[in-house]
Symmetry: C2
Subunit: 251 residues, 2 copies
């Protein structure tokens, strides 16, 4: 068995081993029984690397695959004909990109690596075959897509009802919980994206984002130096978000 894997690796260095991946409890393998895992591994191409700023795909790329983030982080955004950008999401390890593109010939958004990032590629055609055969995996796909809709509705709500402070508090808490899921500190982390992208995502001007950060800092709620952030008073942040609670629980 181990030999078989090695053999494949010789043939194709990208051959996946989801079993050994530390993200197997977050990513697609989560929904697959051990004895079916091999079938998933058969269709994955693992470990493509992108440097900061590189596109994983853009809106002119024919839609072929969904991508799971393995390490690093990714920003997705819609670029209009006029060149305006709307950031639609940030994706961290274990999260799946491309679900919004499963209709249409081309990707519905542009995905850009925010830092040096590695991704696993799932060709949709094969993935659809597989989900047809593994009910649990099909169910999980529905689950993930449904989550994605909910997340987007939460963002809609944030944009339509909440102040700048509330939006930013919500984003910080979302990031925090996603770091925690990966057994990393939920209070001490480094923002993968520039202020600019935060602003765009939250429908604010960069200046406003900056001002809110300093205001939070003056209130002793957070400590921020550049992208390094420390959440000093999570409760206070939760108070700020009021009833906008759990955006971004992607699983």
């Amino acid at each position: 068995m181990a030999q078989a894997i090695r053999l494949h690796q010789v043939k194709s260095p990208l051959k996946a081993s989801c079993q050994q991946c530390s993200l197997s409890n977050l990513c697609l393998p989560l929904a697959v029984e051990d004895n079916d895992l091999e079938r998933l591994e058969d269709i994955v191409q693992q470990g493509r690397i992108f440097n900061r700023g590189e596109h994983i795909f853009d809106q002119s790329t024919p839609f072929r695959s969904c991508f799971a983030v393995k390490s690093g982080s990714v920003k997705t955004s819609i670029i209009t004909e006029g060149g305006e950008e709307q950031v639609t999401g940030f994706f961290m390890p274990g999260e799946l990109i491309g679900l919004d593109s499963m209709s249409g010939e081309h990707y519905a958004c542009t995905a850009k690596a925010l830092e040096r990032t590695s991704v696993c590629e799932f060709p949709v055609e094969k993935l659809e075959d597989l989900t047809g055969k593994i009910p649990g995996l099909q169910h999980h796909m529905y689950h993930l897509m449904s989550q994605e809709i909910q997340n987007s509705h939460q963002l809609t709500m944030l944009l339509s009802k909440n102040t700048a402070e509330e939006r930013i508090a919500a984003l910080l808490l979302s990031l925090s919980s996603r770091f925690q899921r990966r057994r990393m500190s939920g209070t001490n982390f480094s923002l993968p994206m520039p202020r600019n992208d935060i602003a765009n995502f939250l429908g604010l001007a960069v200046e406003t984002v900056s001002r809110v950060f300093t205001r939070f800092q003056n209130q002793g709620i957070i400590k921020a130096r550049g992208r390094e952030v420390e959440l000093l008073d999570v409760e206070a942040l939760q108070m700020v978000t009021r009833d906008f609670s759990r955006q971004g629980c992607q699983q």
Copy 2:
């Protein structure tokens, strides 16, 4: 064959006949071969009626089914603990409700009939079974959910970048194209929802919506009396929306 159908109808008056439904080219049957259609009809419960204001489900209802609008129209919204409402969508005949709820035990939103409305019910458990067996149907479900994500992203964009006028123009055009899909007039229709819901959906105050309507009217772009709307200058509306183009092309 006709007898068999009649027989079923005697047993259960809700037994579906998707074949005869005028929406079969918009709704789920669209993705199903003729010889599989019966299997879809087997799981559908057709024709439940709701009066204006009645809930099809709410956020405390255990999630069991998706619903296709057969006639009338439906508003979905998220109600927060604080009682605030965020309208997340309007659904017209042929469109499918509940895709955002396919994760979690309960519905992720509340669905309310905007007028006397009839819906077809698809129990998800059976639907998932069926999509596992009919690849085209599974594909279509992915397609619809993906569309829903895209629609929500378009709304996000609208809220974060566009003025009140642009948002309302976009909504009018979206409704227009959805009426046209049903072979109804795209320039002369009756809004199924009150100004209040439009405002909430678009992240505006009612007063603003009202003002924009009268402004458009003074400019000769539309004619509106109550919910009755006539689009006099579609081109002008399209100009107003700028590069926000095709929101709500749900198919």
